[in-house]
Symmetry: C2
Subunit: 411 residues, 2 copies
């Protein structure tokens, strides 16, 4: 949570944090500016002090909505720095930041954040480090202070995620109704004109429902059938017909319109009926899901749940990433992930050395075991989003049944 930032900075010996870039697709900037519509900006936070937002002059109204102390970059006259640097924008930018740092008294170990072009960042941060002896530029590679702070959510964040979850669960129900109201012919759902209903038709229906619910789908939903469902991140082919008896992996992970909080859930469906091998694998995934959820404990290392999932699947005869890290069949990914202002955040659940993530109060995360057999033409995944409250209770924020078969007319 935001209140952890000063502690994290102290633990890591960071004297100041500098966050750069626009608010769009830049979770740390969104986090600090509360989603103000800024196309580019800089936030500087000295340890123990409130952050200061430097914004473009033209964006002063939007900057004011952040609730932060603001300063208008226009007043610094970047043109003057460009002239001083004889047209060298890199040097001019170093001059500007020298000025900003002087003004705020920034020195010591200064860490930089925000999504930007990586080559430009490398050039800028090297030049800044060389130019300013009073600062040491710090780049956190992994699990940076903002990723850690953002991993645990305060009450307002949880309320927002829960509300997105409510809408997403409802849309999932709408989709099931949409599928059920189509008749069947020759083993597929059909449209009114008798032609096959397709994955593209369903996605268009979902997009409309997302729009009506003020949700965006920047990473684009997965609605994949048959063999495509067997490749976890295959998004599905628009022209694929909806055949009965094939698995459909429907993974829906939109965010609040305007670039806010995400939700994430997956269901696997078979229209009309499920073949025996799919039923068996589905039961294995559902059992795994239930056993993992029953075993969730505050403070536990996330890795142990990945190990647990692998062991459960192996006991049922499925290959896993534990028995073969490069397997493309069986259980091929990790068990879940944190989410919030980005779809994949901390904690991670990978069972790898160095992963010390644990289930801390405030964490919001998915549990999503799956089994994939593309050569056999099917894949299965079940995913809900959970929140661990301050009192150590886990809450499932997903409100949707886990039935494999969707009954359809005429099947």
């Amino acid at each position: 949570m935001k209140r952890d930032l000063d502690r994290l900075m102290a633990e890591r010996g960071i004297d100041a944090a500098v966050v750069m870039g626009g608010v769009r697709d830049n979770p740390t900037m969104y986090y600090l500016t509360n989603g103000a519509k800024l196309s580019h900006a800089t936030v500087i936070k000295r340890r123990g002090e409130a952050p200061v937002l430097f914004h473009a002059s033209m964006e002063r109204d939007e900057a004011a909505k952040s609730g932060l102390t603001t300063r208008d970059l226009g007043d610094y006259n970047f043109r003057k720095f460009i002239e001083e640097a004889q047209g060298d924008r890199l040097q001019a930018t170093v001059l500007l930041y020298t000025r900003l740092f002087e003004e705020l008294g920034v020195q010591g170990r200064v860490a930089f954040y925000g999504r930007r072009e990586q080559g430009a960042s490398y050039a800028f941060l090297r030049a800044l480090d060389a130019a300013l002896p009073q600062i040491e530029v710090i780049g956190e590679f992994d699990n940076d202070i903002f990723a850690v702070a953002r991993a645990t959510k305060d009450a307002e964040e949880v309320a927002r995620i829960r509300e997105v979850g409510r809408r997403v669960s409802q849309i999932m129900a709408d989709v099931v109704r949409f599928l059920r109201r189509h008749p069947t012919a020759n083993g597929t759902l059909i449209r009114e004109d008798g032609s096959p209903l397709t994955v593209g038709d369903v996605k268009q229906f979902v997009r409309a429902r997302l729009f009506e619910n003020r949700l965006e789908d920047p990473e684009e939903m997965i609605f994949a059938i048959g063999r495509d469902a067997g490749v976890p991140h295959s998004h599905g082919e628009d022209d694929a017909p909806l055949r009965l008896g094939q698995t459909i992996v429907f993974d829906l992970f939109p965010q609040e319109a305007g670039g806010g909080y995400f939700f994430d859930m997956t269901r696997t469906f078979c229209l009309g009926y499920a073949p025996p091998e799919v039923e068996r694998a589905y039961r294995d995934v559902l059992d795994c899901f239930n056993e993992v959820v029953a075993a969730l404990r505050p403070g536990a290392a996330t890795r142990r749940y990945q190990v647990m999932a692998c062991e459960l699947f192996e006991a049922r005869g499925h290959p896993t990433v534990k028995s073969d890290p490069t397997t493309k069949e069986g259980y091929v990914h990790s068990l879940g992930h944190g989410l919030g202002l980005e779809i994949h955040g901390r904690p991670i659940f990978a069972d790898v050395p160095g992963n010390e993530d644990t289930l801390q109060p405030g964490v919001v995360f998915t549990v999503e075991p799956g089994l994939y057999y593309p050569e056999q033409g099917f894949g299965i995944r079940i995913e809900d989003t959970f929140w661990l409250d301050e009192d150590g209770r886990f809450h499932n924020l997903t409100d949707f049944p886990k039935d494999l078969v969707i009954p359809v007319a005429g099947a």
Copy 2:
């Protein structure tokens, strides 16, 4: 254009280009992978050779749609590198890239691109540079090879931008019709129930039209009235009523759904009537727009058009960024910008030392003079998007009249 990449690499002594990150909000990755739905990937292009796409195993279907040569990162078993690095993900990542570079024979000056967390990039690129004596890590700060290549569009890109422009122009017309079909009372447009129509109502109408036209609005439209119109990037207040006689700046800049090409246009409207000072300023902006457009020449330096705009406005008595770089009244921004896979690209039009951008064949750019008087409660901007073809002809891709006053019933 893409065909320029090898030449640009040669001119800048770049032996290999490495592009990292997801395809979303990462224009260079989108550009190279043709919009394949990749959540994270790496493209490596040696000079004179075709790019190679390294993708997550789970995304192999989506990677195949890029049309590039692909390699499955899953086959490299990152876990093994993590174990070798004893859980240090930074070192493990260096080991992975060492392997990829060896495999492709990458050496010499290697430049890195793609939007990523800047601190992580700094840490990674420093570690890589230190670990691999056979390569020198290059970070281009500004106007990198991909920004230059992307600035000029090939026929397919122009067709896509033109199509987005067609839809955007149509939506602008729909909005004018939407406004006109509302009655007026007490100097504002009103809803059926007699309450004032608001900026939020109009935006909701526009969002629906964008959705129906398969467009996204990631940077969020500007529809700002009165004093808000006087602050160029004020997005407008949802609860503001639509008063007659006030300027409305309507700046619409969506992109193809799924994160493709942008279009950008702005109109300024007054409902019912325009006050004389607004009419005068509007004429000044329109005259400036027309004179600049008439003066466009292939190969010309973009800076000269910014100077021209400033001089035209100053001759009419307006303050400008030329007379006062920190002015918040009058003409306060630059004249235009390139656009394509990002809303603000090359060329830039700023009249600053170091800006050597010129109007090259294939360039797509906006011309958008404006005048802003927030204290007087108004702002004006007029913006069209242009394309310069290979034969040296400029094409206006915007199809919408430039009338200030929208007649409304009862006004």
